[in-house]
C-alpha cells in the first residue's frame, strides 16, 4: 500500500501533463520546442489563417469581461452557423425584384444589399489563447472598446460621414453632393477609399496592425536572417520588413508605413512609422505608430500582439492580440486592379447622376 499512492499520484500528474497542452494553447508544452532557422531565431515562416468570429471591439453585453464561458462561445458560434444555414436555404423561385427605393441595407450595403453569404469567409470560431476564449481582440483599454477620439479627430470623422453617405448606408440614387460647399465625394478618384481603389485591402487586413475581415484572411510569412516578409492575400499587399535597421527618413511615406524589425528573445518586434495621410487602419493619420509582436507559441500558432498610438486621433494608445493559425491552404492570386470594374462604374455613375440633376434644373 505505501508504494501505491505515489504511483496513483504519478499517474494523475501524468494525465494532467498530457492534458494541459491541449487546454493551454500558447503555453509551450514540455515536449514541443520551437523550430528555429539556421541563424537561431524561431521560424515563423508558413501560411496562416487569421479569421476569427471574435470582434476587434467587445460587444457591450460582456462589459469588462475578457473571457467567454464555453456556453457563451458556443452561442456565438451557433449564431454564425444558424445564420449561414438560414441564408443557404432556397429563395422563393417566384420572387420579384427587390423594392423600389432600396431594401434598407445598412452600412456599405448602402440600401441595395451586397451578395450571397456563400462568398463570405470570416471563420467559424471565436479565438482561444491559453485555453481561454476571448470576447474581443482589444485587451487595452480594459473595457475592450477603442479609446475616444480627440476633439479634432471626432470633427474629421463627422465630416467624413457627411461626405461619404453612400458608404454609410444612405443611398438615394441622386447627386445630392451638387448642393454642398466644397468638393463632392466622387469628384476625384484619389478621394475614394484605398480598398475601392485596390491600393490596400479594406479593414486594415494588410495592417499594420493586421485585423481580420470578411474574407481572404490568409497571410504568408517568409523569413530570412535580414528580412521578414508578410504577404497578405487580400489585394496582394506585401510588407517587406528589414531587421535591425533604422527607419527611413521622415519625409519618406508609404501606404503601409515604414516597418523595421528586431528580435527580443524569441519574439519578433516590428515597429512601423512614416505612414501616408490615409493608413489602412480606419481613422488613423500620418502620425500613426504601430508596434507588433510575433511569437510562435505552438506548432500551429503565432501569437500576434499589437499596440497602436496616434495622439492626433485617439486620446490614449490601444492594444490587441489574437492568434494566427497555421494552415495548409495555399494563398491565391488577387490581381485586384485587373478586375476592378466597380471603380469605373462608381465614377461613371456619379457623372451620369450629376448630368441628370443638371438637366432637371434647367
Amino acid at each position: 500500500m505505501p508504494g501505491r499512492m505515489p504511483t496513483l499520484l504519478a499517474l494523475a500528474l501524468l494525465t494532467l501533463a498530457i492534458r494541459s497542452p491541449a487546454a493551454g494553447q500558447e503555453t509551450p508544452s514540455k515536449t514541443w520546442t520551437v523550430p528555429r532557422t539556421p541563424d537561431g531565431h524561431p521560424d515563423l515562416s508558413g501560411n496562416y489563417d487569421t479569421a476569427t468570429l471574435t470582434p476587434l471591439e467587445r460587444p457591450a453585453r460582456f462589459g469588462d469581461k475578457l473571457f467567454l464561458t464555453a456556453e457563451e462561445a458556443a452561442a456565438i458560434e451557433n449564431e454564425e452557423l444558424t445564420l449561414s444555414e438560414e441564408l443557404a436555404r432556397p429563395s422563393d423561385p417566384e420572387r420579384e425584384a427587390p423594392p423600389v427605393g432600396g431594401d434598407g441595407s445598412p452600412g456599405p450595403y448602402g440600401n441595395v444589399g451586397g451578395y450571397n453569404f456563400f462568398w463570405i469567409d470570416r471563420g467559424t470560431e471565436v479565438f482561444e489563447l491559453d485555453g481561454r476564449r476571448r470576447t474581443s481582440i482589444l485587451v487595452d483599454p480594459k473595457n475592450g472598446q477603442l479609446p475616444p477620439f480627440t476633439p479634432e479627430a471626432a470633427k474629421r470623422a463627422a465630416a467624413r460621414r457627411a461626405l461619404y453617405k453612400e458608404n454609410a448606408g444612405e443611398n438615394t440614387g441622386e447627386a445630392w453632393w451638387l448642393d454642398i460647399e466644397g468638393p463632392g465625394p466622387y469628384d476625384d478618384p484619389e478621394q475614394r477609399p484605398l480598398g475601392e481603389r485596390c491600393l490596400l485591402g479594406f479593414g486594415s487586413t494588410s495592417g499594420p496592425p493586421s485585423l481580420p475581415v470578411l474574407y481572404n484572411n490568409l497571410k504568408r510569412i517568409v523569413q530570412t536572417r535580414d528580412y521578414v516578409v508578410i504577404l497578405v492575400e487580400m489585394v496582394h499587399d506585401v510588407r517587406i520588413i528589414p531587421l535591425n535597421r533604422e527607419h527611413a527618413p521622415k519625409e519618406i511615406r508609404k501606404w503601409m508605413g515604414d516597418s523595421v524589425g528586431h528580435w527580443e528573445g524569441d519574439t519578433l518586434v516590428v515597429d512601423t512609422t512614416n505612414f501616408g495621410k490615409t493608413p489602412a487602419l480606419f481613422s488613423a493619420s500620418e502620425n500613426l505608430h504601430v508596434v507588433e509582436r510575433f511569437t510562435r507559441v505552438a506548432e500551429d500558432t503565432i501569437l500576434y500582439r499589437f499596440t497602436v498610438e496616434d495622439e492626433t486621433v485617439w486620446t490614449e494608445p490601444w492594444s490587441g492580440e489574437y492568434p494566427w493559425v497555421a494552415t495548409d491552404e495555399p494563398l491565391y492570386e488577387y490581381a485586384c486592379h485587373e478586375g476592378n470594374y466597380s471603380f469605373g462604374g462608381i465614377l461613371r455613375g456619379a457623372r451620369l447622376l450629376e448630368a441628370e440633376a443638371a438637366e432637371k434644373r434647367k
Binding site: E96, K165, F202, I346
Partner: protein, 150 residues
Amino acid sequence: MRSMTTQPTVIGIALGLVLTAALPASAHHAFGAEFDPNRPVLLKGAVTKVEWVNPHAWIHIAVDKEDGTREVWMVEAGTPNTLLRRGFTKDSLKPGTVITVDGYQSKDRSNRANGRDMTFPDGTKLFMGSSGTGAPKDGKDPTEPKKPKQ
C-alpha cells in the same frame, strides 16, 4: 393567393437585413456608391461567361426581354478565393446554366447589377454542396465538393 406569394419575399428581405446587420461595416467598396436603389431588377437567363476575378467575380447572363430581344447582363459577386477554398472553380457554373438574380442596376445604367441573391430557377443557391446547408465545410459531409488539386 396574393399573401402566399408575397410572404416569402418579406422573409427574404428580413433575412437580407439580418445578414447585412450581422456583417462588419467594411467591404471592398460601398455597394451604395455603385448601385441605384431606384432601379431594382429581377434577371433570369443563361450563363454566357464567368469572370473568376478579384476583387469581385462577374457572372454574365443572357436575358430575354419581352420584346423578343436579348441582352447580356453582368452580375457582381464576391471574391472567388473564398469559393476556391471550398472546391468551386469558374467551371462549377457552366455556360448555358439558367440562373435567377435579384439586385439593383448600377448607377451608370450599364447592364450591370449586384448579385444580391443568385439562385437556380428553383430557388436553390448557387455554389452550395448538394446537402445545401451552407454550413462550414468540415469534411464530414460526403457530398461536399472536393478540393482542387494543389
